[in-house]
Symmetry: C2
């Protein structure tokens, strides 16, 4: 560590500061829910705080569709973008790294360092692309369990996540009832409704009908950027809310854009969306987008276990479910239904609905209400 | 008319039956709100019922973004697809062609027979494409007025339309207060909010970033079909509602689609959306889609007239505004605001909100509640 880095850490006292991702490699064959296998896999992950001697103070954070393992701290002086949940995780923060060992892994099938469609298939020496097995939420959970077992973690103090992360949270509690003590699923659903399935299908079609997609066999850096950006722009609208967008953008025009009659950017919200699309293609892989949206669509706890109640019948954890009034992608009602089913099964579960105006993305927002909820639940 | 056609008309007694579109040509220069001009223009329109001797029983129907002049009757034995508002318009129907002369024109800038980007520019002998002037809602109205003047219509008994049609309806009343006696704007807005602008921008980007768009200079039949279909699929979701889609599709799987693990169609809603996209590219022009969505975005009665109240201060018509509870594209509140502003200006206006579950498209649905509303208002 050089002087500049030391200085940086000093000024960010109270923050996690510099972190380095780690790579976990499993040389054992992994069988997906679909029955398909891969001979080995790796997961890129980050961990903050220290594991105690009983190895029972671990909190697993599960990321959303386009999230990754980098959920807190910064990677370097030159890449000071904090992790996506940096406001939630850190010393003295709601997920307190002075007390907990916090771990987050890029999901299997992902594109941020874990094994996924971009990875080389050892059997062919070529990228998997669409020969990669279909990924289910359960596969994300089961592969992470192998990582935790290797770290000799004895139990999970809590699992927490929003959206696709919330699906993993529930799946963790179902799959490993003795291992998981507390869960906090947020802004999630036990199964997508038709509208959410429909939006994901449009995103996939935008990618798959892009002539550069090539049935998934594009070279790195030559992918279906147009389709992926369109998918992202559209999806991004579904992550916000009418009210929040109106407050943030309204009908404001960008300064210096004088020509009222043009197909160029005319409203600030257009500029914002284009930026979202353009920055996304630099950090995300189109095939992973296809796989993960399919994982979202296939996820259906009622179908997998006979009913939502049956899905939860063996749970041993406590649960806090958080829905957001302005979330129209995975509406609050769907989050409430999770808790109602758990309560019918005798699970100690509670539901809280927060009226933040950022829509589905509200779980990512800096909110004292949300922070206090999480802090209090983890203290219980 | 041959025997088969006569038979067809007989069996469809109570319906308008066969209709033929007409073409109106204006050889005078037309100046758009933008200041741009075209040397001549034509409007394709349909009319049903008879104009009375006072020429004061005309009802103008204004179509939505992807609608056209064909709003009632059928075109031929071989094309029996009824007009888009055939349930509303006809002998004895809410817009009663036994009593009214009903007329609907494809908007200027359109692609269904009226002058638009696909039309040949007389000055160059080539299609206008993107040299076509920017189209405002006011241009649609003013060009239709020229048609009505030619038909020597003395006043409009009513103007009625939903969505973009509803914008035209309000613009009619503002622009020609002495000419317009009654208006029924439905499922519309006096200005789009950021979310609606955002969805339209994604649609335009899908088209404009399609490599076949060629800055709008694609040849007929070789246009940006992929982008246009994506735009349509996405927009179609915004025309429906979560509740309506859940009722209509839910998570149902198409029969015979056995492979659970596939990027092909896995849910009925996906099949429906793809069909919507594919059928749209056969009937709609991508450049018109760009122009009309810009017309929607630019429309802002408060900005154009200083305030919404000022926009309505010279109105002489009666007004009935209809909003739909499940419409989240142009939410009921925006329809209610229209009436509140009119009432403040002394306009005899009323607002009704209907709880149909088809979302924005509810105005197109066969609903006795809606039919009775329109019938009663037109009788007043």
């Amino acid at each position: 560590m050089n002087h500049a880095e030391e200085d940086f850490i000093r000024v960010t006292d109270g923050e996690i500061g510099l972190v380095a991702p780690k790579d976990f490699r499993s040389s054992k064959e992994f069988t997906f829910e679909s029955g398909q296998t891969i001979p080995e896999f790796s997961l890129r992950y980050e961990a903050y705080g220290d594991l105690n001697s009983k190895r029972d103070n671990a909190i697993l954070v599960a990321h959303a569709l386009t999230g990754d393992h980098h959920c807190a701290g910064v990677h370097s002086l030159h890449d000071r973008k904090p992790g996506w949940w940096n406001s939630m995780i850190g010393p003295g923060k709601p997920i307190d790294t002075n007390r907990f060992f916090v771990i987050c892994a890029n999901c299997i099938g992902g594109c941020q360092g874990s094994t996924g469609p971009m990875s080389i298939d050892p059997n062919t020496g070529k990228p998997y692309n669409l020969t990669f097995p279909f990924v289910a939420i359960r596969d994300m959970v089961r592969s992470q369990k192998i990582l935790l077992d290797t770290l000799e973690i004895s139990e999970l103090y809590a699992v927490i996540g929003g959206s696709m992360g919330g699906m993993q949270v529930m799946q963790w509690a179902i799959e490993y009832p003795d291992f998981v003590k507390r869960i906090i699923p947020m802004a999630t659903t036990w199964r997508q409704n038709a509208q959410a399935i429909a939006f994901d299908e449009v995103g996939r079609q935008a990618i798959m009908q892009d002539p550069k997609w090539l049935q998934g066999n594009y070279a790195e850096g030559e992918g279906p950027d147009v389709g992926l950006a369109i998918a992202r722009m559209m999806a991004h609208i579904t992550y916000l809310s009418d009210r929040g967008m109106e407050r943030k953008f309204g009908r404001r025009r960008p300064t210096g854009k004088g020509n009222r009659y043009s197909f160029d950017i005319q409203f600030e919200v257009e500029s914002y969306l284009r930026y979202q699309g353009e920055s996304f293609i630099n950090r995300f892989d189109a095939n992973t987008y296809l796989y993960f949206t399919r994982a979202l669509g296939y996820f259906d706890l009622a179908h997998s276990y006979g009913s939502l109640d049956k899905a939860f019948q063996n749970l041993k954890c406590k649960a806090l479910s958080v829905g957001f009034t302005s979330d129209w992608l995975f509406p609050p009602e769907q989050n409430r239904e999770i808790v109602l089913a758990m309560l019918r099964q005798g699970v100690r579960a509670s539901y809280t609905q927060l009226d933040l105006d950022l829509g589905h993305d509200s779980f990512l927002v800096e909110s004292d209400e949300l922070f206090n909820l999480v802090r209090d639940f983890l203290a219980s």
